[in-house]
């Protein structure tokens, strides 16, 4: 009897250890993370609609029904990534940079951009040093996001107050680009 009790206690201790181990491994091993889903949907540096087109499940669940969102994956080991949007007046847009695990590292919205234009460069601190030495004119109005990561996701969200705004918002998102740049 004592040996059964011993085994049960040992099992509970093991369960505790396993609980912690599984919890910490879930983010690393899951194939349902935003990164994995985007990877099956499209390539690196390619803007992808997150919301479902008519029919089909959405790539990544876009939370708000009054929003449209696009995303692209990047790898800073290849170089910097520049996200640009066309000029235009739409009610609200915001940009978020996520690391591979889906953690929001940095976010800003149209009020935080120069001249209200969507132009952001995501780069590592080392690339930032390189760019600072001699700022090329094409980055004059850019918002620089220093991120100490390799892989990540940039998401652009835009508000659609009502259906009459949808064409303008779609044109804005459709005209946005995600490009690899060398520092």
């Amino acid at each position: 009897m004592r040996r059964v009790l011993h085994a049960v206690l040992l099992g509970l201790l093991g369960a505790g250890i396993l609980h912690i181990a599984v919890l910490l491994l879930v983010p690393k091993l899951t194939e349902r993370s935003a990164w994995s889903r985007l990877a099956t949907a499209s390539d690196l540096y390619k803007m992808t609609r997150l919301t479902a087109e008519t029919g089909g499940a959405p790539v990544v669940k876009s939370v708000d029904p009054l929003f449209a969102a696009i995303a692209c994956r990047f790898d800073l080991a290849d170089g910097m990534v520049q996200v640009k949007g066309p000029p235009g007046t739409i009610p609200f847009w915001s940009v978020s940079v996520y690391d591979r695990n889906g953690h929001n590292i940095y976010s800003f919205n149209d009020h935080g951009a120069s001249k209200g234009l969507l132009d952001a460069v995501v780069l590592t601190p080392a690339q930032m040093l390189e760019v600072r030495k001699d700022l090329p004119p094409e980055y004059q109005g850019s918002v620089f996001v220093e991120a100490p990561i390799d892989n990540g996701i940039v998401v652009v969200r835009s508000f659609i107050p009502d259906e009459s705004w949808r064409p303008a918002v779609m044109q804005f998102l459709g005209g946005s680009s995600c490009d690899l740049r060398q520092p």
Partner: protein
Amino acid sequence: MLKNVFLTLLALAIAIGGGGGSVWYMLEAQEGVGAIRIGMWTAFPDIGTPEADPYSKARVAREGVLALGRAEGLAFVAKQDSGGEQLRRECSYSIEGGFPTARFWTLYAADQSLDVIVTGKPRPAALQSYEILRQPDNSAIISVSNNPSPGNWLPVQGTGTMYFVLTFYDTPIASSTGLSDVVLPQILKAGCNA
């Protein structure tokens, strides 16, 4: 000998079943660590940030969520009315009160997986602050119902449990110093179509 094998297997079964099962249970539960409750509304200001607790991190990874950043907004979810009863799609509710400072907010009715309820009509089960009619004191009254109602109408459809999701965009409350003084509207039950 056989007894030893049995005891080892028992210990392993408890360890693997209990360890895996408890993680699964914690991740399925809606209530999480790090939640902030204001009235009937719940928010997770830390979710999706590197400061989040391990349970939130695992949930973010497993559900493939890309949470709103601090400069974007903060979402509150309600699953009960102010009387403490579960929200039902076949019932009518009145959402009344003032809203905290934000550039704009959106409100939508959601099903269990927090997707917007499909109304089957051109009008979605979602409202936003630019189209809201307000009271003289700047508060708002929103009727949630299957049937059209005057003023601000949030159409819903069907039966079953329902959630309200209220998201504030570009708001100082997301940067969390003043979350304790925030007052959110009440959810009052108006009646049910049995």
